[in-house]
Subunit: 318 residues, 2 copies
């Protein structure tokens, strides 16, 4: 799972502090860096998939690995509202891996790239003990219009796309040796690229949900120096998650902190919510209002009208 | 060593063929991809340093690893004549690696970044069994002016910067347990960033020497659909290489096929050679003329007036 540990957050902060701060409007700390252009800004991001950490050959076909390596980067572009343009692919391959698996990864990646009209413009191949794919992806957005994590204001409504917790359910069922339709959410996540672009005229802030809603919402709140209130009963969960999680408590926990959803969390001011929801309905994008941004700088989850403690993942960042 | 095997070249070609060809002027196949802008083109490249493949902790300090990870990317930007702008850093770190080593890598990288006024704009951290650093670097060049591998013409003179073979000498002396001043060329290569930019008004083509002159020259010839003739006696080698290689034959072999020189090979038309050499002298850039581009599409190395067979590395590409 891709959950980031507290040590990694502090490591990233300390690593970045060694460098001179960049001139561009946004450097490290958002889903993408935003590099200013004359009419278009370029959003760039890098993400790696490592065997044994982010995938296993037992549950992923090589096509899936190729798909997911690009998908997680597209999700970062989606969170900025960027239109995907190009990517670079750095492969680290064990000596004994044949050409067949590499070509299968290329096919999985290529199908997704084609869907988003994205060009492979370069890359690198290294030997390594462990199979990994590191992709750098770039997209464009009209100058100054990129959706960052930090634009939210008190009173903004919080929307979540798709359903949450399915990727985590798949991991759990795999461990118990069970087959599941949720597996598709784990091995072939769908980045919400169109939704991100659609959101630009309505939204004030957005983030992609890779580490679980609780953690990613906390990131948005911290960046915006605000808090949030989320109604757990309103979280969008699939019928399969509700049925197979074992308990309502566990379903809620996975929806909040399971990770790898690759959905979007979008903050929309109240007076634009109706128009935003209409635009989503017209484009077949499923979104649900789950909470609100608050002035108090803490995140409160409510269930049946009662505030409950922040679930696993959240207190790492408190 | 970073020598690319024939299997890797064919793998890259086959991998790239799975994707739609990109719209930008240059996609995969050069030192960088060139992405067109209104006044400036952006050159982007990605390169990885993997423990046990590209470095060992025995011979590299963590500062060196950070330096080299960025330097090899700067060398690709140099080969395009690009001015470095920004980079992304993806770290894959074993669990047991402490914060100290990561900070040391950051310091080595940061010192080089500062020298070239380059901003760290983003990155990624993953767990992995093997330490590796994958850097994506970008630079800019005036529109349409990037130096590619494919612009050479018959009669162009070939220039090489610095000295060749020292990085390979260091590997050999390490194996024999000997200390060497050439080690600095292996652990802290100097990318020829200023020389690359200086070359733009004079040169027709350029490539950086990462896989050895023989192999990289063959790449330039293939991209330009031409051949070349190189005088081995004119290759720039250090006094240390001449003294410690064991034989003149081995010194020549390492200069031609040792790899990891991170010098530039530059093709300059005859009527601009004098001005190019004057410009280099003014800027303190050491270059030496070593051969000429020919119409016959093969690479010939001459020694004492006799043509000799292409050394190891070259026939992989024939």
């Amino acid at each position: 799972v891709r959950a980031i540990e507290p040590r990694e957050f502090s490591l990233i902060r300390r690593f970045v502090a060694v460098f001179d701060p960049p001139a561009p409007p946004r450097g490290p700390g958002d889903d993408c860096a935003v590099l200013p252009g004359s009419r278009w800004d370029t959003c760039v991001t890098v993400d790696a998939l490592v065997e044994g950490v982010h995938f296993t050959r037992r549950h992923f076909r090589f096509e899936d690995i190729g798909h997911k390596a690009l998908a997680v980067n597209l999700s970062d572009l989606a969170a900025m509202g960027a239109r995907p343009r190009w990517f670079l692919c750095a492969l680290a391959i064990p000596k004994q891996l044949g050409t067949g698996p590499v070509m299968a990864m290329a096919r999985g990646m290529s199908a997704l790239a084609r869907k988003h009209r994205m060009a492979l413009v370069g890359g690198n191949v290294s030997k390594a003990a462990q199979l990994s794919i590191t992709i750098t992806a770039a997209g464009t957005v009209r100058r100054g219009r990129a959706l960052t994590r930090q634009g939210a204001r008190s009173g903004d409504r919080l929307f979540v796309s798709g359903t949450l917790g399915d990727a985590r359910l798949a991991l759990s069922l795999w461990r118990r040796g069970q087959r599941t339709t949720a597996a598709a959410r784990q091995v072939r996540p769908t980045p919400r690229v169109e939704l991100g672009q659609l959101s630009i005229p309505y939204a004030r802030a957005a983030i992609d949900l890779s580490d679980g809603l609780a953690q990613d919402l906390a990131q948005m709140c911290r960046a915006s120096r605000l808090g949030a209130q989320v109604d757990i009963e309103r979280l969008p969960v699939s019928a399969e998650l509700r049925r197979r999680a074992g308990s309502a408590r566990r379903a809620a926990k996975w929806a909040l902190a399971g990770g790898e959803d690759y959905e979007l969390l979008i903050a929309v001011p109240p007076n634009r919510c109706a128009a935003f929801e209409r635009a989503c309905a017209r484009s077949g994008e499923q979104v649900r209002e789950v909470g609100v941004i608050t002035r108090t700088p803490s995140v409160v989850f409510s269930f049946g009208g009662h505030a409950i403690p922040a679930p696993l993942g959240y207190d790492h960042l408190a």
